[in-house]
């Protein structure tokens, strides 16, 4: 089936099978930040934005994204750089395998709620599993990042 998706701002037309997953399609376009983790819609590793909403690309048919906008971490370099760098500097993660999905969903949180509470952070990111940090480092990193943004005079982390 012929589909046309705007991936990271660039319109791409592809011929895909009806059961091709958005995850595989995005990786085939070179977006290797989109990782296959649990493949049971639980880990959040494959998070992409579909028309600006975070979704699990392992559970979306590529044909269902036809005519829509898909954004991966590769397309959010400017927005992600500051936050991802801060998380790394804070040592907020260990192995970093979950990082792309975590960063994507954290950016979705900041867009929706620029000044989240600890409970709001935990609830929004509950769908991003991390097997080594225990989430404490990530929560601390996010809070420190938001405090740093505020200290710089910004309104929370909104970009």
């Amino acid at each position: 089936m012929l589909i046309s998706i705007t991936l990271n701002g660039k319109k791409i037309t592809s011929d895909v099978s009806p059961d091709a997953l958005l995850l595989d399609w995005a990786r085939a376009q070179g977006c290797k930040s989109v990782k296959r983790g649990c493949e049971t819609a639980n880990c959040g590793l494959c998070t992409v934005f579909l028309d600006d909403e975070p979704v699990l690309s392992c559970s979306v048919l590529a044909v269902r994204a036809d005519g829509r906008r898909v954004t991966t971490l590769e397309g959010l370099q400017e927005e992600a750089r500051e936050f991802a760098g801060f998380i790394a500097d804070q040592g907020a993660e260990q192995c970093g395998f979950c990082n792309p999905g975590f960063v994507m969903n954290a950016l979705a949180l900041f867009r929706e709620n620029p000044d989240p509470s600890v409970d709001e952070i935990k609830e929004f990111l509950a769908g991003n599993l991390c097997r080594c940090s225990g989430y404490e480092g990530q929560t601390r990193g996010i809070l420190n990042y938001l405090a740093w943004k505020k200290a710089r005079g910004g309104e929370g982390a909104a970009t």
């Binding site: 099978s17 049971t40 819609a41 909403e53 699990l56 048919l61």
Partner: protein, 268 residues
């Protein structure tokens, strides 16, 4: 692994219904549960072009299109104001935001899953299912029906007086519930009545309505009696998440707490 031979975006409900009469056809919801199975689908029918992805408020209540996502339910101001936040509480524990941006109300209700927080919640409300050929069916009846080849168009929630509450117990934060319950305190001229919907028994959600009428604040003794009656009337079973005995105990505790939270002296 899920294999799909053909994909068809329905152009109308009649188109979807006609396609769905063929053996091997499946209507796609959020596809999250469907994808977990090993099956071959001849024709996957997508309703996403039919403008059924919205919640519309009417003078009588709300019309929830079958393609409405659980995240839309979670964030809907009108439904959450009406239910005292029970709608948000029911869905906010389901996996994560990315999952809830995909999972649909139609998929949850049509599946009639025992673990469904959505079915447990809607059953406690005055809810109806609109089927393309079958018309409007009370949700309580729909949940006991076997699946056929009709098309679930929307869920209708009528605005009837009541105070609502939703509680669930989970082994871990984003897992299926071990037990879920939605409670409603319905005011009437001769006193208040309590209605309780219990899901993840682990079977499909069922209703329990206490015959007792509460006049004035519900006492701890009344709440305990309500919990005991609910636990005795609602059948439970065992699975990996909990035993039947544990679930019955949870019903007793959650029902009593719900009674006090909704109608106890602190609330009156």
């Amino acid at each position: 692994m899920l294999t799909i031979q053909n994909y068809k975006k329905a152009e109308s409900l009649e188109d979807a219904w006609t396609l769905n009469q063929r053996r091997g056809s499946v209507i796609l919801g959020g596809m999250l549960w469907l994808k977990m199975g090993k099956r071959t689908v001849q024709t996957a029918i997508d309703l996403s072009g039919l403008r059924l992805d919205r919640i519309e408020e009417t003078p009588e209540g709300w019309s929830i299109g079958c393609m409405t996502t659980l995240r839309q339910l979670e964030l809907h101001k009108g439904l959450n104001a009406y239910t005292n936040g029970a709608v948000r509480e029911a869905v906010r524990h389901i996996v994560g935001v990315q999952f809830r941006n995909l999972a649909t109300v139609g998929g949850s209700v049509w599946g009639r899953f025992g673990f469904s927080d959505v079915c447990t919640l809607l059953l406690a409300l005055d809810s109806y299912v609109e089927l393309y050929k079958g018309g409007n069916v009370p949700l309580v009846d729909f949940l006991t029906r076997e699946k056929d080849r009709d098309v679930l168009v929307r869920v209708i929630v009528k605005r009837t007086p009541g105070t609502f509450l939703y509680r669930s117990v989970r082994g871990s934060q984003t897992d299926f519930p071990v037990l879920a319950c939605a409670a409603v305190l319905v005011p009437a001229e001769n006193g208040d009545r309590l209605r309780l919907s219990v899901g993840a028994r682990p079977g499909r959600a069922v209703l329990f309505q206490e015959e007792a009428v509460f006049r004035g604040p519900i006492s701890e003794a009344d709440a305990a009696a309500f919990g005991k009656a609910a636990a005795e009337h609602i059948a439970t079973g065992s699975n990996l998440r909990g035993s039947a005995e544990y679930r019955s105990h949870l019903i007793q505790v959650l029902a009593a707490r719900a009674a006090l939270e909704l109608g106890g002296a602190d609330r009156c």
